[in-house]
Symmetry: C2
Subunit: 244 residues, 2 copies
DNA sequence: CGCTTCTTTGACGAGCCTCAAACTGAGTGG
DNA sequence: CCACTCAGTTTGAGGCTCGTCAAAGAAGCG
């Protein structure tokens, strides 16, 4: 987690949030400076910490500044399904209560309070921000549909490719990755629970992708060697941008 | 499709809509009568007809009055994933444009224009209706998460059980089914595309459920013989009700 | 270092898919 | 009333994908 893709060096703390929201709607200068002030009320979370409980009456709206989290549901027998990964710049707990899934930190995580932004948007005081948050919610919906296609109709090989392409795109938007490289601080268990596979099969599928010359994984960084080929192979359609 | 669960005999045309929205929020008398007037602008759709195209700029908001539809996505090679089934009383095309998936009629279908309801809710003229529509959107989100769990972490046997329980609950709410029986006008191909299975395996899994004394299927009607056992077996949690 | 967590490998079996064909039932037209 | 057709269901055979169990490496961390 150090070096080129560090989330601490070379970026202002809340830069991913600004970048992401700017990619979703046009923000005014007052809106931007409101967002910049959010960085002051920061909070740290250890891996495994639950940020939102499944039926939380009033989940606190937050933005992820650094580190990764996920939305998930657990079954009584221990099976877990991860619905989506929350990357730096992503919002959580902005939807109406009660929460439909829990949110859990996957790595060391930093978040900031999103309430000022949400309030301003709701009051009508920040139309650009309101549009950006609406677009973010739409994008989350789109990602969930992609996830359903992955789980229901893609093979393990296609699923992994699709998954990596989604991460590449999302991380590039926030400036944390480029067209080919991005940080990937996930264990194979987490990928398994996200992709509906077993850990062992994730491991073997990763090897397949490596042998096919598609990817390279080294110390928390993923490299896509043939992004175009991967895109075709799994019918990846990219992340939704601005709403209409 | 005649007899006890007919959608035409014994119910006022838009009754499923009223029942469903009343289950989601408290509606005032003016709101109810607004909804009743919707029944006048009715539209018929043949099976297979596309009601909303995947990237439709402005999908027309509609309520399903009778028949079933689905939200789905198609892959270039013909694979299909159904995200959700739309039953009588359900709304479609109410979210912000452009549409993230297409909506297709699965059976002969009747819909009515939802725009008057949506407009009234947006204008602030119908707070109860607005609450009901928001709760409906929330419920759709919840169903999509259930669907992801089904696809990612349940076995074929559990998936089918979970699927039937969801349909039972949803249809009971609109008065189209009871605690054990409900109409099921779906081919096994449709179930397969909904559950992420092959047709053949759906057929065999249905036989398993029958042999286990769980279900009975006869001419478009499903009977759940042991709903409680089924609920335990697949960790079914029921449909979300009123939002907070 | 020694511990824990994570990754990797092997062996084996089960779940699910594909292909192919037979069967059923509901029209449709002669 | 009887083919005939067509969509849907059911069955069989065979094989690939993916899961489970178990244990051996690697890699991070105190």
């Amino acid at each position: 987690m150090t070096g080129r893709f560090s989330t601490h060096i070379g970026f202002r703390p809340i830069d991913p949030i600004l970048r992401r929201l700017k990619s979703l709607a046009t923000l005014s200068e007052p809106e931007l400076s409101l967002l910049r002030t959010l960085g002051e009320r920061r909070e740290r979370h250890a891996p495994g910490e639950q940020l939102v409980a499944e039926h939380a009456k009033e989940p606190r709206p937050r933005f992820v500044v650094s580190g990764w989290a996920c939305r998930q549901r657990l079954m009584p027998d221990g099976r877990r399904q991860i619905f989506s990964l929350m990357l730096p710049g992503d919002d959580l707990g902005f939807e109406s209560a009660p929460a439909l899934a829990s949110v859990v930190a996957l790595t060391a995580l930093e978040t900031v309070d999103g309430a000022p932004a949400l309030d301003a948007a709701r009051r009508g005081a920040a139309p650009g921000l309101a549009a950006a948050l609406a677009a973010a919610a739409r994008q989350a919906d789109a990602l969930l549909l992609d996830q359903a296609v992955r789980l229901g109709r893609l093979t393990a090989f296609e699923r992994m490719a699709h998954f990596f392409l989604e991460l590449q795109h999302r991380l590039e938007i926030t400036g944390l990755g480029d067209r080919q490289r991005f940080p990937l601080p996930l264990t194979q268990e987490i990928m398994a629970d996200s992709l509906g596979l077993s850990i062992v099969h994730v491991n073997r599928t990763l090897q397949q992708l490596r042998r096919a010359g598609m990817i390279e994984l080294r110390s928390g960084v993923a490299i896509l060697l043939q992004p175009e080929a991967m895109t075709k192979l799994c019918d990846y359609r990219g992340v939704a941008n601005k709403a209409a």
